[in-house]
Symmetry: C2
Subunit: 352 residues, 2 copies
DNA sequence: TTTATTAGCGTGCACGTGCACGCAATTTCT
DNA sequence: AGAAATTGCGTGCACGTGCACGCTAATAAA
C-alpha cells in the first residue's frame, strides 16, 4: 500500500534526478571507480532527497555473494550446553540463508589443545569472512586471534572471551555476576550455615577452568554476606555415576548440617539420584543452565532454582548481529553483550 | 562456498530435467492453470530430485507483492506497557520490510468502546492481509472477529485473547499463572500474615477488567497456601498522585501488620513515593511488568521483585510468526504462545 | 601537432522468478 | 464438417541491482 505520489525510488530515479546515468550512481554509492566531484554531489543530494535505499532483494539476486562464517566450538552430546549453542547457530543460519549467509562448523575436544589448533586451522582453510569461537585455551586462542588480526579477519566470542584481543563481538553472561545471583538465591529463604559446593573432577590435561569466574562470584558473595558460614567443597566424577553416588553419600553423612547445595557448572543434574534418594523439604539446591536434564530436576523438585539464560538465543543473536555487521561493513553498535540471567523455578518453568 | 557439482538449482534446471518448459514448472508449483497429470508428475519428481527451492530474493523482486498488517491496540504514553508492545511491532516490521511486510497501526482509547469500533473499521478499510489486536472489549471484539471470519481475514491476539474466536495466533503470558508466581515470590522469604493488594480506581465507563485473571491467580494461591492470612485491598487513583499518597498513608496506618505488598497491574511504580518515605527492610513488595518506572523502583530497592517478560519480544515474535504464516499460506505450527515469565530482582536487573 | 593515457561516464547483460500473452492441438458445439 | 471453445504448454518481458566493457573528451607525453 504505497502512496502513489511516492513510489519506492530506484537507481533510475536517482540517476534521472541527478542528471547522470545509473552507472554513475552506482559508482558513487559503492566508491567504485572515477566520478567527478560535481556528479558525486548531485548524486548524493538526489539520494538524500529521494530517500533512496537499494532494494536488497534485487541486490542479493544480482550479486550472488555468499558470506561464509566458521564456528569453532567444543564437541558435545545431544542436550548438552554446547549442543544448545549449536542449535542457536543453526537457527540463525537458516534465517540468514536467504541473505547469502552460510555457516561451517568445527568441533574440538575441550580436553585436547591439539584438536583446537587443528580445527582453528581448518576454519582458516574455509576462507570465511568471519570466525566465531569460544576461549577455553587462553594462550592458543590469543595467538590465533593475533593471526586473525593480521589477516584482517573479524572474529567474535561466544560464552567466554579474552579481553586483550580485538574481537568484534561478544555474547555471553557475566559469569561472576551469575555466581553472585546463584549465591543470593541460595540464601534467600534462610541464611546458610553450612554450604556444599559440588565440583567436577577434571582431567589433568585440562589446563583451562572456564568455571572459575562464576565460582568466585558465588564464594565472594557468600563470604561477604555470610562470613560465619562454611563452604564445603566436594568433587565428583562426571563420567562415573556410581562413584558419584558413593562420594556424595559419604560427604553428606560427614556433614549433616548442610542445607544449602550449589553447583556452579552446568551439571547439577548429576546430583539427581542422590537428591531423590535423600529427600529433605528444608534443603535448598541451586544450579545453573537450562539443560534438559536440569529442567527435569527442577520440575520434579530435586532442584529449587536454576540460574540460566535462553542458551540458543545467545548464539542466535551473536550470529545474526555478526553477519549483519560484516555484510554492512559497519562495526556493531555494541561490542559486549552480557545477556540477561533468568531465574528459573518450578513456578515459571512452563514455556521456557 | 557451494559444491560445484551441485550448484543451486533454478526453475530452468527443473524444467530441463522434467523435459518441460519453465512455465509448466511454474504452473505446477503454484497450482496456476492447466497442466497434464503426466507433466505434473515429472515436474514434482524433478523438484524432489534436485531439492529445488525457489530463490526468495528473485521471487520477491519479481512479485513486488506487499503484505499489509493492521494492528489495533490501546493508546499509550511513552514508556507504558503498550508503548513497549508497539516497539516490538516496529522492530519486527523493520526486519520484515525487505520481505514486503508493511504495518499500519491503529490506537484506540481503552476507556471508550466507540473508539475501538472506529479503529477496527479503519483497520478493515486498510484492506490488510491480517489483523492483530488485543481484547479489552470482549463483546465488540467477538463481533469483530466474526466479521473477520466471514471475510476470511486471519487475525491474531496479543497480550490477551478470546478463546471462543477463531484466531490464528496468540502471544501473551498466562495471566493466572503469573499471578500465582507473584504470590509465590511474595511469600518466599517468610509466610505472610497480612497482605496489601493495591488496585486502581477505574472509570465507570470501563467495563472490561483485563487484570482479573492475574489477580485471581494471586489470591487463589494465597488462599490455598496461607489460609490464615488476610488480603486487604486498597484502591488508588492512577491520575492523582496526591490522593494516592494520602490514601496509602491512611491505609497502612490502619494496618500496621502488613509486611507484604502486591499490585497485580503494571503500575507498581505508583507506590514509589510512599515506599520511599516509609522504608522498611523487612517488607516485601512484588509488582508486574518491566516498565521503565518499575525497573527504576527495583533498582532503588523500593520494589523487591518484578514478574515480567520481555514485552517487546512478545509482539515482535507475534508479528514475525503471523507474517510468516500468512506469506507461506500455512497455519502456524502452534497457535497459543504463552511466553515465559521472568523473575526480575535487583540481582539480575542488568542487561534486561 | 600527433599520439598515448586516463578521467568520467553510459550501456548492456546477468541474476531467477512471476505472470501475461498467445500458439498449437485437442475437444465440444452447431 | 466447420466453427468455437478449451486444454496444454512455451516464450517474452519486467522486477532493480551489480558489474564489466567500452566510448568520448580532456589531459599528458612524444
Amino acid at each position: 500500500m504505497q502512496n502513489s505520489n511516492h513510489p519506492i525510488p530506484t537507481v533510475y530515479d536517482v540517476a534521472e534526478r541527478a542528471g547522470v546515468s545509473r552507472g554513475t550512481v552506482d559508482r558513487v554509492l559503492y566508491q567504485r571507480g572515477r566520478v567527478s566531484e560535481q556528479s558525486r554531489q548531485k548524486v548524493l543530494r538526489a539520494v538524500e532527497e529521494l530517500q533512496y535505499k537499494p532494494n536488497s532483494n534485487a541486490s542479493r539476486l544480482a550479486r550472488k555473494k555468499e558470506y561464509l562464517f566458521s564456528c569453532i566450538i567444543p564437541q558435545f552430546n545431544e542436550g548438552e550446553y554446547w549442543g544448545e549453542i549449536n542449535n542457536g547457530f543453526l537457527e540463525a543460519a537458516a534465517l540468514l540463508s536467504e541473505r547469502g549467509v552460510r555457516l561451517r562448523l568445527h568441533f574440538y575436544d575441550q580436553t585436547d589443545v591439539k584438536s583446537f589448533l587443528a580445527e582453528s586451522n581448518a576454519a582458516l582453510d574455509d576462507k570465511p569472512c568471519g570466525i566465531i569461537m569460544n576461549a577455553v585455551f587462553r594462550d592458543e586462542v590469543t595467538l590465533f586471534s593475533q593471526q586473525l588480526d593480521e589477516l584482517g579477519l573479524p572474529y567474535a566470542f561466544i560464552d567466554n572471551k579474552i579481553d586483550e584481543t580485538h574481537y568484534a563481538l561478544y555474547y555471553g553472561v557475566d559469569p561472576y555476576k551469575s555466581g553472585e545471583l546463584g549465591a543470593w538465591l541460595l540464601s534467600l529463604r534462610f541464611p546458610p550455615k553450612e554450604i556444599a559446593l559440588v565440583r567436577l573432577l577434571r582431567d589433568s590435561s585440562q589446563r583451562a577452568d572456564p568455571n572459575r569466574p562464576r565460582r568466585h562470584g558465588f564464594t565472594d558473595y557468600i563470604n561477604e554476606h555470610f562470613p560465619d558460614s562454611t563452604v564445603h567443597t566436594v568433587f565428583i566424577d562426571p563420567k562415573d555415576s556410581c562413584s558419584t553416588q558413593k562420594t556424595l553419600e559419604k560427604f553428606f553423612a560427614a556433614h549433616p548440617g548442610i542445607k544449602h547445595i550449589c553447583m556452579t557448572n552446568s551439571r547439577i543434574f548429576l546430583l539427581e539420584q542422590y537428591l531423590r534418594e535423600h529427600p529433605d523439604p528444608e534443603r535448598i539446591v541451586v544450579g545453573f543452565d537450562e539443560l534438559k536434564h536440569n529442567l527435569k530436576c527442577l520440575e520434579r523438585g530435586y532442584v529449587n532454582v536454576l540460574v540460566t539464560r535462553h542458551i540458543p538465543e545467545q548464539s542466535k543473536l551473536l550470529l545474526t548481529d555478526f553477519a549483519e555487521s560484516v555484510i554492512s561493513r559497519r562495526a556493531p553498535k555494541r561490542r559486549d553483550h552480557y545477556v540477561h540471567m533468568d531465574i528459573l523455578t518450578r513456578m515459571n518453568l512452563d514455556n521456557y
